[in-house]
Structure formats: structure tokens, C-alpha cells
């Protein structure tokens, strides 16, 4: 082989300007710009929107969706989906309340039991998907109904209420001036963002999503990874369930109904391809924040809830179109 054929120019280190430009036209960059524009626009409509108090309050409201969106990003990157997260959240809440009130568990133990049952629910999803080969969509659609039914059966449509004061610290309290659960979300985003971007686990997930067979043929333990992420999804839905109960002070079997769609919308808005293979935690979290701020900002500027969903749907489509356009231009250049 002659040198002429292999002799590629050695890539020089990119300048700061180039790096910045690269960041700006990335999926996340584009979305971030859309978010900034939306925030600035909403801020001109009402002076109630861009205040520290309001923004922190929105952070409180979006924590559950944000926490569940992290494993959902993992799962969608592998080309899967988990529709049962809302039901797992409900199941966790009910188990927490039921073990505490009916079985007389200490509240601490009830919390752990609740989260564990969520984790187990996710594990069962994973087990059937990996071992029996049920497609994730079918499996989690089935458990969406099953776990909800389980929650309703256990609760007998009764709510568990009257938790002690300390229980509300997580959902309603503050730490260093910031809603307690928001800390948890921030830490989770950083940790699991790095896990996805930098570790072997993250790399394996992208490989599985792009070409599961190829990943298997490269000696990656595909099944183990899939089992892990569905279990992880159950765990995070469980944690979200605990936070949710702590925030609204009661358990109901219909908790988290429909949250899976909010989560999936945010993840997809954040640039994760529903076909798998691409996506990132920063993108997802921008998606979560964007949807939450739009909801809140539009209400504050006098748009009613039914009109707000229309606007959010439009922004979702718009953002995806803009991103597709920019990404295809980037591919060419």
C-alpha cells in the first residue's frame, strides 16, 4: 500500500471558535437555543415567569419526569421503550402507603419496600424482554395495565394519608434554598449523564441501539445490559413515586397515569432517536425543562391549559424539524 492512499492529514486540535460552533449546531445546542428563545419570549409576556421562586417551583414539579427520563433515554437509545413507568410509579406509591398503613411497616422500611417493588417490576419487564424475547413495546404495554391493576387491587381505591412531617422534606422541603428533590435530580443528571457519555456501559448502549446483532458479535453482553436498564428504569420510577407521594402527601393508585408519554416526549424532544442509537442526557434534560417551562410560562401569560398542549405539541414538532434540518446540513458539510 502506498502512502498516498493512507496519508490522511493529521487532524489539528480544533480552535475555541470551532468548538463553540460545533457545540451550537449539535442536537443539544439547537435545542438549548430554542429553549432560550422560548424563555425570553415568555419573559416578555409576563413578569411573573422569570423569577427565582417560580423557576425553582417548576424544578420541583419536573423532578419526577426528569428522573424517569434518565433511564428512558438509556432504553430508547437501545431501541427499546418502557411504557410501564407510570404504572410502576403508581405501584410504588401504593406499596409504600399500604405497607406503612396496613402492614404496619416503619415508614423508612415502607419507602425501601416501595422502591424495591418498583425495581422488581422493572426487572420483570427486563426478564421477559431478554429471556422470552417479548418486544419491549408489547411487554411494557402489558405491564402498564398489569402494574396499574396491581396497584388498584392492593389499594382497593383507598388512599394512605397522614404521614409524619419528616416524610415531606423530600417532596415539599428545601435544602440550601433549593427544593430538596431538585438536588436529587441534578445529581442524577450529572452522574448518569457521565455514565452514558463516558463509560463502557454507555458505549454498549449506543452499540446495542445502532446494531444489536453487531454488538452481540463484538462480545458485548447485550442481555445483561438490557436487563440492567429496564431494572434501572423500574428503580427510578420507584424513586420518583416516593418523591411524588412526599410532594402530594397521599398515595393513590392512579398516580403517574400518563407520565410515560410526558417522559417519552421529553426524551424524543431532547434528540434521542426513537429508533435507537443516538441521544444524550443533556438533550433529555433540556427537553424536560423546555416542556415544563412552556407549560408554566404559557399559563402565566394567560393561555389556558387546553391551548397550552397545542402549543407544546407544535414546539415539539418544530424543534424536531429544525434539528433534523440542521443535522442533515451538518452531515453534508
Amino acid at each position: 500500500m502506498t502512502d498516498k492512499k493512507t496519508g490522511q492529514p493529521i487532524p489539528r486540535n480544533p480552535t475555541l471558535g470551532e468548538k463553540l460552533r460545533h457545540l451550537l449546531i449539535s442536537q443539544e445546542g439547537v435545542l438549548f437555543v430554542i429553549m432560550l428563545v422560548s424563555v425570553l419570549f415568555l419573559a416578555t409576556r409576563t413578569d411573573k415567569f422569570l423569577t427565582v421562586d417560580n423557576l425553582l417551583q417548576q424544578g420541583r414539579f419536573m423532578t419526577e419526569v426528569g428522573l424517569i427520563a434518565i433511564p428512558m433515554t438509556y432504553i430508547i437509545i437501545t431501541g427499546g421503550i418502557d411504557l410501564s413507568v407510570g404504572s410502576i410509579l403508581g405501584l410504588t406509591a401504593i406499596v409504600l402507603g399500604w405497607t406503612w398503613q396496613e402492614l404496619g411497616f416503619p415508614l423508612e422500611l415502607a419507602i425501601v419496600t416501595g422502591i424495591l417493588s418498583g425495581t422488581l417490576a422493572g426487572f420483570v419487564n427486563g426478564l421477559f424482554i431478554v429471556r422470552v424475547g417479548v418486544p419491549p413495546l408489547i411487554m411494557t404495554l402489558a405491564t402498564l395495565a398489569l402494574y396499574r391493576g396491581l396497584a388498584e387491587g392492593i389499594s382497593e381505591a383507598r388512599s394512605a394519608r397522614g404521614y409524619p412531617e419528616w416524610f415531606f422534606q423530600l417532596g415539599q422541603g428545601e435544602f440550601l434554598g433549593i427544593p430538596t428533590q431538585l438536588w436529587l435530580l441534578i445529581i442524577a443528571v450529572i452522574v448518569f449523564g457521565i455514565v452514558l457519555a463516558r463509560t463502557r456501559l454507555g458505549r454498549a448502549l449506543y452499540a446495542i441501539g445502532n446494531n444489536e446483532l453487531g454488538a452481540r458479535f463484538s462480545g458485548l453482553t447485550v442481555n445483561r445490559h438490557l436487563l440492567f436498564i429496564y431494572t434501572f428504569s423500574g428503580f427510578m420510577a420507584g424513586v420518583a413515586g416516593y418523591i411524588f407521594v412526599s410532594r402530594v402527601s397521599t398515595t393513590r393508585s392512579d398516580m403517574g397515569t400518563g407520565i410515560e408519554l410526558d417522559v417519552i416526549a421529553a426524551v424524543v424532544l431532547g434528540g434521542t432517536s426513537i429508533f435507537g442509537g443516538t441521544g444524550s442526557i443533556p438533550g433529555t434534560i433540556i427537553g424536560v425543562v423546555l416542556i415544563q417551562l412552556l407549560k408554566n410560562g404559557l399559563t402565566l401569560s394567560g393561555v389556558t391549559s387546553d391551548a397550552t398542549i397545542v402549543v407544546i405539541g407544535s414546539v415539539l414538532i418544530f424543534a424536531i424539524l429544525v434539528n433534523n434540518f440542521i443535522q442533515s446540513r451538518r452531515e453534508e458539510s
Partner: protein
């Protein structure tokens, strides 16, 4: 060249970052088969896409019957009588043969005041078109999805003829065909030529060019190299035109020192395609595994690699029995597998060269589970140099590479894992001549210099004969022959592959 039906002159085409065609020329006479050859990335695809209206040239002109034409989309090229038969056939599997042939221009009749499809006329027309091609055994009512590749291709050709195509472009038409389908395709091509249809024929296989074509045009790196009458050229000349140098030895086999047994399998069983298989591969040895498609070669390789775990039997590595029930275990034991289906099994095409080369050795490029991109880049750059991968850099995505370079990335992935045994399944299928000899050189080198044991599966007998120290032959899931490099001949192996008499089966297992 005054009698040219189609003429392309001074064609230039740029893509972002690539100068795909530079002042290229091409012409087709009425009723000739004109082969277009070149390595991957030489510009053949761009050329035919310009002819068929998919791309528009930056500069240059296209003359059809002496008149200047411009195709702004494939439909216009179609209307001008230019039809293309792609590698990936553009048929609707759920529709019938007749429906596919007349897709978009079905014969119609008036019924209830509406234009309705005249099904009878359509089926008759389809049958007539097929009969013109000497195809009589194809049911026009059958769903295309139920046909084999060869028949589907015939439907595609009939479809082109139903549009009165004067120029037929065939892109690698034999790539997926069996031997007998190839023969039938050739007779159809000759039939069309007699009827005055011009054919642009693209192929990697030089023997097809010599068998079929009247003239041949060679492209290299977007440059027009030359056009020759087939009768006046030779295989060697064409190869040197294609690669820009002469290749003295297609199979650069080095003498290697054969060491200890690395892999030994005993009575490996996973019916139906792996039955009672026993053999061994030694360090420094290249063992060729021959057989017809479906004889169980790939399946046996996948049993060893843990994709299809064995039901019974033993696998020994360096004399130690090992249990392999999934690929990750095979990798842990030092086995690499370059699979047959590069796109789906070998590579993750959407990911970069860097990510692909480190895929099997993530623990080597990471620290406490954190992947070091710097280490990965070092590894990828090393692979690019070692295997002469033609790429813009380690961060190029794999699907932007040519077939040969993609294959090199797959090989580099396994070399990075320092395997004891490398199983290579059709290592040079779909790879152009230049890259092919590079891969062969690399195989020899690895066996001779690093003592790597290689099990090579190939359907190309010259490759088997040229590269193997020892040849094993499989048929119907069983090992039916073993030959040393010296005793192996094309006839012996072909006989073992196809013969129905299990001449040597009985004692093969025992002697190994």
C-alpha cells in the same frame, strides 16, 4: 464512437469534501454490453446515478442519440428509456409479479365510468414479457416476496423492458445470485443485446466482464482511466488499471511456522447444520473451510463463537476444555470472529472507526469503566496505519467507508483483542481487488509473524487454495474432506463439496 447511443463527456461531480468524478467520459453503443469497473469509491456509482438522473453533473454533457439531454430526476431518465436494476431490488414483496412489472403503468379499461385496472391484460402482458426473456417457469400471479433472488431480478428486468428501456444499467447483478441463476442472467443479457438493448454492466468480478462484455471502461479515484475492447485486454491489465499498479501475487502466502494446536473441537453437535464436527487449528496455520452455501460452515463457526451454542461436543483452547455459550465468553477465551454479514454482524456502521475498533476491547481502553478517548484514538490510529484503512481519521463513521475498508475495520477490531484464534467468514466478499489483496497479505503476515491461528471460510475456491495451509470441506452439516495445501486442487475440493457419496467422512474425525 459516432454510433454511440449514449455519450457522457467532461463530467465533473463534487460532493462536500469529495471530488467524485473528474472530467469523466463514458459511452454506450447500441446493442453492446459495456462493463464499468473500478475499485469501491472509484466513481462508478456516481456515474450511473448521473446516467439515471439521480444526480446532476456539475459540468459536462450527456448526449442521447446525438442530442443533448438533461435529467433532473430519475423519472425523466426513465422516460428517455434508461432503466436501472439496483443491487437492492426496488420491488414490492407483497404484490404479484404482474403487479410489480406494471407498477405505475398498468393497462386500464373503462368500467362503471371509471378507469379500472385490466387485470387480465396485465397478467397476459407480464407473461408475454417474461416469455420474451425466455422465462417460462415464473407464475405471474405469485407474490414477489415468495420468489428467490434470481427470480426477483428477472421480474425487475421484465419491468424495465415493459417501459421500453433502450439502456439497461445493471449494478452488481450477480452479487447475491447462485451459480445457476448467474448462468440464466447471462443468457438474458445476451438475449437483450441481440435485441439491440444496450447494457451498462457494473461488477467486481473480472471473469464476468470477460464472459459477457464487449467493451470495458475503468475508473479510478474519480478519474477516467481508459476504455478497452474486451477481446484486446487481459485480467492483469484491467487490475493494474484499476489499482494503479500491478499486483504480482493475488495470494501473497508467506511460509509460516506451524506451532501447537490452538483450537480443537471434538464431536461438535448442533443439528441440522453442525453434526459431529471434529478438527483442529494450529498456531500460525490458516485452515480453509470450503463448502456450498448452506453446508454449515458459518453455523459451525458460530457454534465455536458461542452465537449458536453447541448441544454437545467439546471445544479445547490450547488444550484446555472451555465452555462457550455466548460470544462474550468466546472473546474472553481469545477468539475473534469476522462474520460474513459485515453490515449487520461485523460492524456498527453508524459508529466511528474509533468506536468500532475498541468495541471488543473496551476494558483495555478504559480505566475504572471510564473510557479514555485518547487511548481509543491511539488504538484507532494504529489500526488505520497497520491495515492501511483509507479514512479521513479515527472519527469517521464506518458507513462512510468503502466495503474493503469497512472489512479492515472489522479485522482491526479483533486484532486489537490479540486473539489466539481468528475465524474469518468470507473475509473478502464484496471487497474490491486492491483491498482484497491487502487483507490476504495481512492474514499471511499475522499467521507467519504472530503465530495467529486462522480459520477461514470462503466460497471462492481460488482464495481457499491460495491462502490455506490445510483445507476442510463441509457438506450438509458434516465435515466430508480434508486436504493439505499440496494435495488440494480445485477439482478435488469441488468434488468433495458436491458429491453425494460420503467418500471420506468416516475417517476424517479420527485422523484429526
Amino acid at each position: 464512437m459516432s454510433d454511440a447511443l449514449l455519450q457522457l463527456r467532461g463530467i465533473d461531480k463534487h460532493f462536500p469534501g469529495v471530488h467524485a468524478l473528474k472530467d469523466a467520459r463514458f459511452d454506450v453503443r447500441r446493442g453492446e454490453v459495456h462493463a464499468l469497473i473500478g475499485e469501491n469509491g472509484a466513481g462508478k456509482s456516481t456515474m450511473i446515478k448521473i446516467v439515471s438522473g439521480v444526480y446532476q453533473p456539475d459540468t459536462g454533457e450527456i448526449l442521447l442519440d446525438g442530442r443533448r439531454v438533461e435529467f433532473s430526476n430519475p423519472r425523466e431518465a426513465h422516460a428517455a428509456g434508461i432503466a436501472t436494476i439496483y443491487q437492492e431490488l426496488g420491488l414490492y414483496p407483497e404484490l404479484s409479479v404482474a403487479e410489480n412489472i406494471f407498477m405505475g403503468h398498468a393497462p386500464t379499461m373503462k368500467r362503471f365510468g371509471l378507469r379500472a385496472i385490466d387485470w387480465e391484460a396485465m397478467e397476459q402482458g407480464a407473461a408475454a414479457l417474461l416469455a420474451e426473456l425466455n422465462i417460462h417457469n415464473l407464475d405471474v400471479g405469485a407474490k414477489v416476496g415468495t420468489l428467490n433472488v434470481g427470480n426477483r431480478q428477472r421480474v425487475e428486468i421484465a419491468k424495465a423492458l415493459s417501459l421500453d428501456a433502450q439502456i439497461l444499467i445493471m449494478d452488481e447483478p450477480t452479487a447475491a445470485l447462485t451459480e445457476s441463476d448467474v448462468e440464466q442472467l447471462f443468457s438474458i443479457v445476451r438475449l437483450l443485446r441481440e435485441r439491440g438493448v444496450s447494457i451498462i454492466y457494473i461488477s467486481h468480478r473480472l471473469n464476468e466482464v470477460f464472459e459477457l462484455a464487449d467493451r470495458v471502461t475503468v475508473l479510478r479515484d474519480g478519474d477516467y482511466i481508459g476504455t478497452q475492447d474486451v477481446s484486446a485486454t487481459s485480467e492483469g491489465e484491467l487490475i493494474s488499471m484499476m489499482v494503479g499498479r500491478t499486483i504480482e501475487n493475488l495470494f501473497p502466502k508467506q511460509v509460516a511456522e506451524i506451532g501447537d494446536v490452538v483450537l480443537e473441537v471434538r464431536n461438535l453437535n448442533r443439528p441440522p447444520l453442525t453434526r459431529d464436527i471434529s478438527f483442529s487449528v494450529r498456531a500460525g496455520e490458516i485452515v480453509g473451510l470450503a463448502g456450498l452455501v448452506g453446508s454449515g460452515r458459518s453455523e459451525t463457526a458460530q457454534v465455536i463463537f458461542g452465537v449458536l451454542p453447541a448441544e454437545s461436543g467439546e471445544i479445547l483452547l490450547n488444550g484446555q476444555p472451555v465452555k462457550i455459550s455466548r460470544p462474550s465468553e468466546a472473546v474472553d477465551h481469545g477468539i475473534g470472529y469476522v462474520p460474513e454479514d459485515r453490515g449487520h454482524q461485523g460492524l456498527i456502521r453508524e459508529m466511528t472507526i474509533r468506536e468500532n475498533t475498541s468495541m471488543a476491547v473496551l476494558e483495555l481502553v478504559s480505566k475504572n469503566t471510564f473510557i479514555s478517548r485518547a487511548k481509543e484514538r491511539v488504538l484507532a490510529n494504529h489500526s488505520i496505519r497497520q491495515l492501511s484503512i483509507r479514512a479521513t481519521g479515527p472519527d469517521q463513521t464506518a458507513n462512510k467507508l468503502s466495503g474493503g475498508n469497512q472489512q479492515k475495520v472489522v479485522v482491526s477490531k479483533w486484532l486489537a483483542s490479540s486473539p489466539k484464534l481468528l475465524i474469518m467468514d468470507e473475509p473478502t466478499r464484496g471487497v474490491d481487488v486492491g483491498a482484497k489483496s491487502e487483507i490476504h497479505r495481512l492474514m499471511s503476515q499475522l499467521a507467519a509473524e504472530q503465530g495467529l491461528a486462522i480459520l477461514m471460510i470462503s466460497s471462492e475456491l481460488p482464495e481457499i487454495l491460495g491462502m490455506s495451509d490445510r483445507v476442510l470441506v463441509m457438506r450438509e452439516g458434516r465435515l466430508v474432506g480434508e486436504f493439505t495445501r499440496e494435495e488440494a486442487t480445485q477439482e478435488l475440493i469441488a468434488h468433495a463439496m458436491m458429491s453425494a457419496t460420503p467418500a471420506v467422512t468416516s475417517d476424517v474425525g479420527a485422523t484429526l
